[in-house]
Subunit: 192 residues, 2 copies
DNA sequence: TCAGTTCTTGACTTCAAGGTCAAGAATGGT
DNA sequence: ACCATTCTTGACCTTGAAGTCAAGAACTGA
């Protein structure tokens, strides 16, 4: 009952995610958000309560769309190392092709809000932990298939790969030529 | 001639660096800066011109103090791998021991301002390039001393180590236990 | 059709960010 | 002693960030 919403909150969150991703939390204004979403400020606050609450939803949206997509990409068929390389190359190309050079929203959020924003910090921690787990699982699969030496520690390699991705996506924000990222990917995959 | 300054601008920049490092560029207010420096707002703007100009000086100060210290640490005597391990462990311990979890100011700046702030972006690029060079030089030294296989590509390993450090310092901002960072360091040094 | 409810808009409010400026203080030169 | 110069302070200014609210629109059930 009552007047129905004239917009889809989930779509609005996606637009908000875009803005926060590009400009950061402090760098985004309510005006930016209503412009991007296409609603009035009243609707914005009536629906989401506060800038911070909307940011939290945007971060969760990022997790559900982007972070999960990464993990799913690792699950495709084929040899483990090839999948890994393809995923890393895909991330690097994607980041470099983005005209806004937004990189990874989780990485950006960690850099901006870790320590000062409990909620955001925990969400980022969860995304990182899941990514690390996915890499560890991939390593274990590679060990079962004989592609990766069984004496290597999967947890260590999982952490290493998480660290590699975090570094790559940060470096992608300030690196113009893809050479450096390609070298990182080559050296990383080659070390497995 | 004229009234002499009541404060040392270089010391003021160091204090400003502390604040920007902890709160980011957008998150820092002129009030934060005058409080940290201990001068009036007029002196602040009379001396530095703008918040952005002061940030630029703070970033250069970071480069001259922190980034250069890293590079010098790599130049100490001893076996190459031991030096590298010690440096990485030192960074990780330092970042985890910091109650504010500020991580690396260059990394934070890349995440916040890459793409939107030309000056800051270039300064960060320069810091990253110098660090990468120092790592490459270290690898080459290790190859001359026989510690590192001569067929490895020093440029690739330099990029890899830069990427590792960037990742470590970002992860240090959201990682509570040191285990993950230790695993990353072990796996990285072990792969050389 | 009317009552109750929920949504929408945008003007409005409050507060602070970023910066300016006038008044006066501390110097050196003459 | 006085002047030009530079520095210092804090009140002041303008703008915009973040959020609120009154008025009205669109819906549902009775």
């Amino acid at each position: 009952m009552g007047r129905p919403k004239q917009f889809d909150p989930d779509v609005a969150v996606e637009h908000a995610m875009d803005v926060f991703w590009r400009k950061g939390y402090a760098g985004t204004t309510p005006q930016d958000l209503v412009d991007a979403i296409g609603i009035g400020k009243g609707s914005l606050y009536n629906t989401f309560g506060s800038k911070h609450a909307l940011f939290e939803r945007a971060l969760r949206c990022y997790h559900d769309s982007q972070a999960v997509a990464l993990i799913e990409m690792l699950d495709e068929p084929g040899p483990v190392k090839a999948r890994l390389r393809k995923t890393l190359e895909f991330l690097a190309e994607m980041d470099l092709a983005d005209p806004d050079r937004r990189g990874c929203m989780a990485v950006n959020t960690a850099a901006e809000l870790a320590g000062t924003d409990q909620v955001a910090t925990e969400l980022v921690q969860r995304m990182f932990a899941r990514t690390e787990d996915a890499f560890r699982a991939l390593i274990e699969e590679g060990q079962r298939s004989g592609e990766i030496a069984p004496e290597r520690d999967p947890a260590a390699l999982g952490s290493l790969l998480l660290n590699t991705v975090v570094g790559l996506r940060l470096l992608a924000r300030v690196t113009e030529s893809p050479d450096r990222l390609v070298r990182v990917i080559d050296a990383t995959v080659g070390s497995l």
